[in-house]
């Protein structure tokens, strides 16, 4: 029978091989699911993972989708390394977009050099308010951040629906639940003319590198790592857990707010009831797939971005429902966490022959 045995020490090999194995298993499993739906498995997996890249502007679309995922995944890596389980990035993303959108709507005539920095600050502030509330409730009332951050996500989403169907609805929008388009000055600067590639595509890897340096090389990062691995040792060393929880929530929330702001201004140009196709939740997968290492988050963010594009392609070309994106991401997280068992354990085939010989 199969037996799972502890290894003793963490396996270096499986640290990097486990996400790859998870990816392979995800490909096989989704192939099986597609086959069960009566679609040719190979073609579907091809449509999902490879075809989007071959399209015109495929790469541009990929990096634009990856930018918010990477920003949020990086913030989450930091928080998770310190055992701060922020799963409310979706809400922090949304509040960032709301704050930035509010600035854009309030200053329709402001020049770009005023409005864009103002929106940038507002977006990060929105995410930080949302994350900060969670930190305050954990520290002040010992409320579990997994619950509160998720609950804030729902609150924020309803706030967005209220705003775009109520006070902020575009008077000239024929009653559609959306705000007026932001002014051209409020659009995120483009890196490439006539494309969607906005400044976030440049910011995301820079943020990843900066936070990697912070986490691995600085005293503050050391404090996060100690808090995550041995909370008592952190207290012994004099690192304030409260302070680190604040920083983790403000940074992960602020980055989510920044991502939300860039999505609203760089890609959408207005607020609607649907500004995020679940980026905040996908970012959780990104953080784990990237091994909670900010540099690992970059390829992980690209892969998850691909799953969004693949989902769109599968809908258009094969007539599959929109839910396939979520299914693919869910299977990936499932295998990712499952394969991590191999880090500390090995699987052995052995016959059960042990018997009392007396």
């Amino acid at each position: 029978m199969l037996k799972i045995e502890p290894r003793g020490l963490e396996s270096k090999f499986w640290r990097y091989a486990s996400p790859i194995l998870a990816l392979v298993l995800t490909g096989l499993t989704s192939g099986l699911i597609f086959a069960a739906m009566g679609r040719p498995a190979g073609l579907t997996v091809y449509t999902f993972l490879i075809a989007p890249l071959l399209q015109q502007d495929g790469l541009a679309a990929l990096v634009v989708k990856a930018a918010p995922l990477i920003m949020m995944g990086v913030g989450l890596s930091l928080a998770y390394r310190a055992n701060v389980w922020n799963i409310g990035t979706e809400g922090q993303f949304t509040l960032g977009a709301i704050f930035a959108g509010g600035v854009a709507l309030a200053l329709p005539d402001a020049p770009a050099w005023i409005i864009f920095p103002a929106m940038l600050m507002a977006g990060m502030l929105g995410g930080m308010v949302s994350g900060g509330l969670v930190a305050w409730m954990r520290i002040g009332f010992n409320a579990n951040e997994i619950l509160t951050s998720l609950m804030f996500t729902y609150i924020t989403q309803y706030l967005l629906v209220y705003l775009v169907t109520g006070p902020w609805r575009d008077p000239a929008g024929f009653g559609f639940p959306q705000t007026a388009m932001f002014s051209d000055a409020a659009a995120a600067p483009k890196l490439i003319e006539d494309s969607n590639v906005h400044i976030g595509v440049l910011l995301a890897p820079l943020i990843a590198i900066g936070l990697w340096f912070m986490l691995e090389k600085s005293l503050l990062g050391f404090q996060f790592r100690v808090l995550g691995q041995a909370p008592r040792a952190a207290r012994f060393a004099g690192f304030s857990e409260d302070r680190l929880v604040w920083v983790a929530m403000l940074v992960s929330g602020g980055l989510a707010g920044l991502a939300g702001m860039l999505e609203a201004t760089g890609t959408l140009g207005q607020l609607t009831t649907n500004i995020s196709p679940g980026y905040g939740f996908a970012a959780i997968i990104v953080a784990f797939l990237g091994r909670l290492n900010p540099l690992g988050v970059i390829p992980a963010g690209l892969l998850l971005a691909l799953s969004y594009l693949g989902g769109d392609a599968a809908q258009i070309n094969l007539g599959l429902p929109n839910a396939v994106t979520g299914i693919f991401q869910g299977i990936l997280l499932f295998y990712l966490l499952g394969c991590d068992v191999l880090l500390l354990h090995r699987i052995k085939w052995r016959r059960d022959t042990v018997r009392i010989a007396r």
């Binding site: 003793g8 041995a230 018997r355």
Partner: protein, 516 residues
């Protein structure tokens, strides 16, 4: 009964990167109290785990009462008649004694008449226990009795005891020995694992000594001196620590506690009540006591992990520090070594360099503009490793790859090299082999002779008598006034350890057969 009770030959167990047992043999006779001696990491626990069926050997033969057996799991070991009392108890604090014992039994059938059997066995063997008491009210000694009674209910022929006396008062140790001798005389052999060589000499009739996963000697402990036993264990000659010149110090106090009173943050912890003391530079104060009498809380209050409220409650070099956290207390040259190495004093999954950095980044100047100075950090760890003879591959080695003694040397060295004005060490040599213990004792004495005020909190009275100038006892969160060591005796300290109540009279053990 002819032949030995248990013979193990050629026992071999390979762990990834470590040959824990290399063809180890041991023979335990009937009615024998057999000592298993060795440094930390010598392979004692691996051998014991193979006997108790926790670990499966790669090679080797186990012969139990003349029959060749394989022991697949602890349940099977128990059916054969092997019981084990672990160093760390597995008891539910909120349940009664009887409930805890019942939980360890397999079937409902075994629970019939359990209370009566608990009472009968505990009185027969001088292990007084009230089945209806809740565990969190019990002393460590009483908790250990639960574990022993739990084993005795299974009518064992071999009882394995892992470091049983480290948590007991001298009186409790004497009582335990009476019980163990009784058990042995009635046919239950005992495998006794301990670091305390004096105890082994008085209790055990045979000893197997291990080093680096191999047998190095078999002997009769009473025929050897403690020094000889220790030398076989570590394969080196030992020199007794040179006694310190103990003069009453008139130097100004470097550490003062003024009526320190703290509620324990832990539900089952001990509150500290009105603790006052004054300690001069160059002085070593030993704080004796049974585990769980407020040592952990006192340590946390001194290190700043629990704040003391009013700043003036704690003075280091006349600076009020009661309101300061650990970082600020290090700033005024207070250094601390907590009891638990894994996850408290050290982060086991981090490298030695990072663990050196953990408490020394400030005084060691290891951070510039918020960035870790990698070279200086590594050099600091290297200095500790060199000066304190830490056996490891270097600063990059993970803390968990070190044996307990080596990691403790590293942690003590980390604080000593910060040139502290006050050093507090909780259990300096807990679970540490004889060689490392000696090195740590020497480091503490050298530091004191340079003018540091040192507090050692320890359950090991021998250690306190060797090191301390004065001895206080902590019992139920109160600290007794210090006694100069030359005026103290084991008996007087032992009485204070038991708290205000006078020691219980010696137990008369009736002679009743174990298996009726």
């Amino acid at each position: 009964m002819a032949g030995p009770l248990l013979t193990m030959t050629g026992m071999t167990k390979q762990y990834p990167g470590c040959l824990a047992n290399d063809h180890v043999s041991i023979t335990i006779e009937h009615n024998q109290i057999h000592a298993l001696l060795g440094e930390n990491g010598a392979g004692k626990s691996t051998l014991v785990k193979m006997i108790y069926g926790v670990t499966k050997p790669d090679e080797g033969e186990i012969v139990w009462e003349g029959q060749k057996v394989t022991i697949a799991n602890p349940g099977q070991a128990q059916r054969l008649g092997i019981g084990m009392v672990f160093q760390h108890f597995s008891l539910f604090e909120a349940l009664t004694v009887a409930d805890n014992i019942a939980l360890g039994l397999g079937s409902a059938k075994e629970r019939v008449g359990l209370r009566e059997r608990i009472v009968r066995i505990s009185t027969e063997y001088g292990l007084p226990l009230d089945p209806d008491r809740v565990v969190h009210d019990l002393s460590v000694g009483e908790r250990q009795r639960i574990e022993i009674v739990r084993c005795l209910l299974q009518n064992p022929k071999l009882l394995i005891m892992d470091e049983p006396t480290s948590v007991l008062t001298p009186t409790e140790v004497q009582r335990l020995f009476i019980t163990l001798r009784r058990l042995a005389s009635e046919g239950c052999s005992i495998l006794y694992i301990s670091h305390k060589l004096e105890e082994v000499r008085s209790l055990c009739s045979a000893a197997t000594i291990m080093r680096l996963g191999r047998n190095v000697a078999r002997c009769i402990p009473a025929e050897k001196t403690v020094k000889e036993l220790a030398e076989i264990m570590i394969s080196a000659e030992l020199h007794a620590p040179t006694p310190r010149p103990r003069s009453a110090s008139h130097a100004p106090p470097r550490l003062v506690l003024d009526r320190l009173t703290i509620r324990s943050p832990n539900q089952f912890g001990t509150d500290l009540k009105d603790i006052s003391l004054s300690l001069a530079g160059g002085e070593i104060l030993g704080i004796a006591g049974i585990a769980g009498n407020g040592q952990a809380e006192l340590m946390d209050a001194l290190s700043g992990e629990i704040l003391a409220g009013k700043p003036e409650t704690i003075l280091i070099d006349s600076i009020p520090v009661g309101h300061m956290g650990p970082t600020d207390r290090r700033g005024v040259k207070g250094c601390f070594v907590p009891e638990e190495r894994n996850g408290h004093g050290a982060v086991t999954t981090m490298s030695l360099a990072e663990n050196g950095f953990l408490s020394a980044f400030q005084r060691g100047n290891l951070v510039r503009f918020g960035v870790i100075q990698k070279k200086r950090t590594s050099a600091f760890a290297q200095k500790i490793i060199a000066q304190f003879d830490v056996r490891t591959t270097g600063p990059k080695a993970e803390a968990r790859s070190l044996s307990g003694g080596n990691l403790q040397k590293f942690l003590v060295g980390r604080e000593v090299l910060q040139d502290p004005s006050v050093l507090v060490i909780n259990q300096p040599t807990w679970g540490v082999d004889a060689g490392a213990a000696l090195a740590i004792h020497e480091a503490i004495m050298a530091l004191a002779s340079e003018g540091t005020a040192v507090i050692i909190i320890s359950q090991d009275l021998d250690e306190i008598f060797v090191l301390a100038d004065r001895i206080s006892v902590i019992a139920a969160g109160r600290l007794s006034p210090p006694i100069p060591t030359r005026e103290a005796t084991v008996e007087s300290i032992g009485r204070l350890m038991g708290g205000t109540t006078s020691p219980p009279p010696p137990v008369e053990v009736p002679r009743v057969a174990l298996r009726a």
